[in-house]
């Protein structure tokens, strides 16, 4: 058996690839549901209803998709330039704690129009800093940033844990490790009444278009793509490799930090160490499912959020662990990899 590169990839194939991958992932986790003795189709129907069956559930799904869109964009931006940012989870937490720290201390009395943009910026900057470290280590010591950015996830969560156990501890939380709250004035307004859906969703959606514009229309987009596709080729054409990758890291880390910031300012108002059910890691899956396309990220984040939100109700009704959502999402990453491969290659004999 041998694989041969397809010279021309029809558009239909490119669009179909993620759909096939998702279908395959659903079929595979369907086997797991069936093995647990539950009706597969009913389980998926309940997931769909759980995610979109009511106004409340639909807004809840969109709320859940918001940080996923941002962490997904973070991964997509980085991967396109071959910066393997696996540290989205840590950047998310640092972004979140930066908001809690600045919001509850420095900007406690500031009006919303001032504190809101400043807090978003603080979150983004915190995320940037955490990604600049592994990138600098790669450029300086040629250390693989995959492992360092992964290890920093654990460090970041411990930093958060330390802060909410110490200087940022909320004295009113009955001993629970929980940060002080962001003042109400700094909380992002709701997008719809009687729901948790907030303006962060709008911000994420706009950013997806902004990132798409940057990548497809700007000199920076062209250079960062060149740097990712072929470092030697880029250097020969005069692209400053280190500086370009540094910008990419700022953009990627900033987006992941923003995800944390938005989650605090839009939903929780404070930080705990279980703020993220793996938003950073799921962001990687979202980015891959989207084929690293910023607009695809929006759809992939919606799919992932659907699985997570819908699995709750399904789990209660059919006694299937909610972890089935995580399994499906992880499987869709693997099936997507395989699907992309077969979109690029054909089997010869």
């Amino acid at each position: 058996m041998r694989f041969e590169r397809r010279e021309h990839r029809p558009l239909a194939l490119i669009v179909l690839t993620p759909l096939l991958a998702v279908a395959a992932a659903l079929a595979l986790s369907g086997l797991l549901i069936a093995a647990a003795g539950a009706p597969v189709l009913e389980a998926y129907w309940r997931i769909l209803v759980g995610a979109f069956g009511s106004r409340l559930s639909a807004t809840e799904t969109l709320t859940r998709a918001t940080p996923l869109m941002l962490t997904g964009l973070a991964a997509a931006v980085a991967f396109r330039a071959r910066v393997w940012n696996i540290g989205g989870e840590g950047q998310f937490y640092l972004g979140a704690i930066a908001v809690a720290a600045v919001g509850s201390q420095l900007l406690a009395g500031a009006p919303g129009y001032l504190s809101m943009p400043l807090l978003l910026l603080a979150g983004a900057v915190a995320g940037m800093i955490l990604l600049i470290i592994p990138l600098w280590l790669r450029l300086r010591f040629s250390v693989d940033e995959v492992v360092t950015s992964l290890l920093l996830n654990f460090v970041a969560v411990l930093v958060v844990s330390m802060l909410i156990d110490g200087p940022l501890k909320d004295p009113l939380a009955f001993g629970w490790p929980q940060s002080q709250s962001v003042p109400d004035a700094a909380m992002l307004p709701k997008l719809m009444a009687r729901s948790r859906l907030h303006w962060g969703f709008g911000i994420a959606l706009v950013l997806a278009f902004v990132v798409h514009f940057v990548q497809s229309r700007t000199v920076f987009g062209l250079k960062s793509r060149a740097a990712g596709l072929s470092p030697e080729g880029a250097v020969f054409a005069g692209v400053p490799l280190a500086r370009t990758l540094l910008f990419v890291a700022c953009l990627s880390g900033g987006l992941a930090g923003l995800a944390g910031a938005v989650e605090v300012m839009g939903v929780k108002g404070y930080v705990t160490t279980d703020l993220s059910p793996g938003f950073g890691y799921s962001g990687i899956v979202v980015a891959m499912l989207a084929g690293l396309h910023p607009l695809g990220v929006v759809l992939a984040a919606l799919f992932t959020a659907t699985m997570f939100v819908g699995a709750d109700g399904m789990s209660r009704a059919l006694k299937i662990p909610t972890y089935i959502a995580d399994v499906t999402v992880a499987l869709s990453l693997i099936t997507m990899l395989v699907a992309v491969f077969f979109a690029q290659y054909r089997i010869r004999r």
Partner: protein, 313 residues
């Protein structure tokens, strides 16, 4: 100062060093084997989690402890097969495939665990491996008590490191593995099938990783809970670099690392005023430092992370 000396001179510390090192030794040897053949296996974190879960589950359902380890090894081998299919046959990015395997293996183990063991107030437990004392060694001063606190898998880990060092450097198979990791085209030209070598190394290496995970539930603790692997897999990946891809140094690196870990645990109780999280961070930060020191110096297998396709250069 005297606290430091007291800690270092305590039997408890050194007994803990060996205990903490054991899963790292298994994991590092497993990752090392994969990388020697040219495949980075970032599935390690998930494979260790699955090994911890499935080994525990087997024992919980009545299997004996060694069968539990074996079940974990087999499960690890299956995930290794998946990673090999993605990275060797299809030649996909080893980074992303490995992460996919990790995400899948860990979520799958949580799913299975929850399915079979419904949520309860306190997690169910098993009777883990008991410490064994080796006749002759147990009588030695200081060393005796340290060794007598260890369970059989720890001895297995140390023996395995020596065995792997021998296989890698002294046998034809080891040479074939190293050649595949350095230059698969040359290996093929000499009649060695690089695809088969990579499959074998990744499957065997993944089995070792899973055994390392199972040590956590079958010896170090007696129950399974999600996220219990706590980044140990990633630390193993760093340790492989620190060890310059040599099994003997991997053993040393894991012990050194475990020493710092055991030391900081004891320091936590001895030193006041420093948040405990600072101590917990040290393993991760140490790993990053080790990577920085060694990354340039070590002779990386030249074909690491390069997919091999016959006839393609």
């Amino acid at each position: 100062m005297s606290t430091f000396v007291d800690i270092v001179a305590s039997v408890g510390l050194w007994a803990a060093v060996l205990r903490i090192a054991t899963p790292l030794i298994f994991g590092t040897l497993g990752a090392l084997l994969c990388e020697r053949a040219g495949v980075l296996n970032l599935g390690i974190e998930g494979i260790m989690t699955f090994g911890a879960m499935v080994g525990w589950l087997a024992v919980y359902h009545g299997a004996d402890l060694w069968t539990g380890l074996l079940v974990a090894a087999l499960a690890g081998a299956v995930f290794g097969l998946l990673h090999a299919a993605l990275t060797v046959t299809l030649g996909l990015s080893q980074h992303v495939s490995g992460l996919g395997v990790t995400l899948f293996a860990s979520s799958f183990s949580y799913y299975l665990f929850r399915l079979i063991v419904p949520l309860a107030g306190s997690p169910p437990t098993i009777v883990p491996f008991a410490p064994v004392s080796v006749p002759g060694l147990a009588g030695l001063p200081f060393v005796g008590p340290v060794l007598s606190a260890q369970t059989p898998p720890t001895y297995l880990a140390v023996l395995l490191a020596l065995l792997l060092a021998y296989v890698v450097f002294r046998t034809p198979l080891g040479l074939a593995i190293r050649m595949t990791g350095e230059n698969p085209h040359a290996a093929e030209a000499q009649g060695v099938n690089p695809m088969a070598v990579r499959y074998g190394a990744v499957i065997a290496g993944s089995a070792l990783m899973a055994v390392g995970g199972a040590f956590l539930t079958l010896s170090a603790f007696n129950s399974f809970f999600p996220t219990m692997v706590q980044g140990r897999g990633w630390i193993c990946i760093a340790l492989v670099v620190f060890a310059s891809w040599r099994p003997g140094r991997a053993l040393f690196g894991a012990l050194l690392f475990a020493f710092f870990d055991a030391f900081q645990l004891r320091l936590q109780t001895a030193v006041d005023g420093v948040p405990y999280q600072v101590f917990l961070m040290t393993p991760y930060i140490l790993s990053i430092l080790a990577l920085c020191v060694m990354a340039r110096r070590a002779r990386v297998p030249q074909a690491l992370m390069q997919p091999y396709r016959r006839g393609e250069r």
